[in-house]
Symmetry: C2
Subunit: 157 residues, 2 copies
Amino acid sequence: MGEAAQLKEDTIAALHDTLQAYITKKGFRSTSQRRLVTDIFFRTGGHMSIEDLLAKVREQDPRVGYATVYRTLRLLAECELANVRHFGDGVTRYELADEGKHHHDHLICTSCKRIIEFEDEAIEVLQDRIADRHGFNLKSHKHELYGVCPECQQKQS
Amino acid sequence: MGEAAQLKEDTIAALHDTLQAYITKKGFRSTSQRRLVTDIFFRTGGHMSIEDLLAKVREQDPRVGYATVYRTLRLLAECELANVRHFGDGVTRYELADEGKHHHDHLICTSCKRIIEFEDEAIEVLQDRIADRHGFNLKSHKHELYGVCPECQQKQS
DNA sequence: CTAAGTGCAAAAAGTTTGCATTCCG
DNA sequence: CGGAATGCAAACTTTTTGCACTTAG
């Protein structure tokens, strides 16, 4: 519980494998830029804006362009290794899909923008029931709680 | 339950009153454009993109500009009569805050984009508990279930 | 009157696309 | 080699801002 945990090396390797399989199947190509972008993405595991991710990528290869990061994340979303997120600021963020980690939702501090993950089985069950009731075939969901974290509450008072 | 219900006349009047009180308190001004934009917004009650709203506004006054609609909705958000929403397409939508209607969440059909509202008291309780556990002072939340609605399931098969 | 609000157009901000060049398979 | 991917810059889209003009209070 709490902040995102570090992923194990072999989990990361498995993610690269899944991606590689998809790339091969589709006749796409594995490039150094793609490997770099996806590796950093897999390791940080989400909630990064494109801007943040690009910055990290450029630490290791300054020639990589915006477009490549956008295109690579679109590829990850396409093969369902990543999901898009919008947390209210106009910025698109991606996060690792459930394949790589447990399903979770988000607690977001509206003051310091910190993002904390949580899981709650009981809520998941209730969700399924609601979808059923409306005849929906549920694919995914988004559950975000916005508030002020303990630290910021202290600062404000 | 189901699609958004029509709001009663007096509820709409109450919303205008709340807004007027805020405007007065802040030394702002009530203009015909603001009254028009907010009235249409209150009556439709949410899930409208700025573009949709502007179109409706221009049916009644074609001279109203984009900026006015943006600024008016920002004002509504500022006085907590409206909340911002992002449903995955890059478009900002606003919806009436809880003041005007019951709290509810959303079931969204990824195929036809239909948006259905639902309420679930049990989930609300669980949310509060999660926020408590993390020491968060909860302000609002977003809970969206994405899937395929019964009609689209039929079409697809 | 006078400061807030409007409409317009220009500017930002974020994302996508076209194209010549690079390079994987 | 041939086509996919890249990097760059230009194009797009959505939202914000600057400014002269209008108007509520």
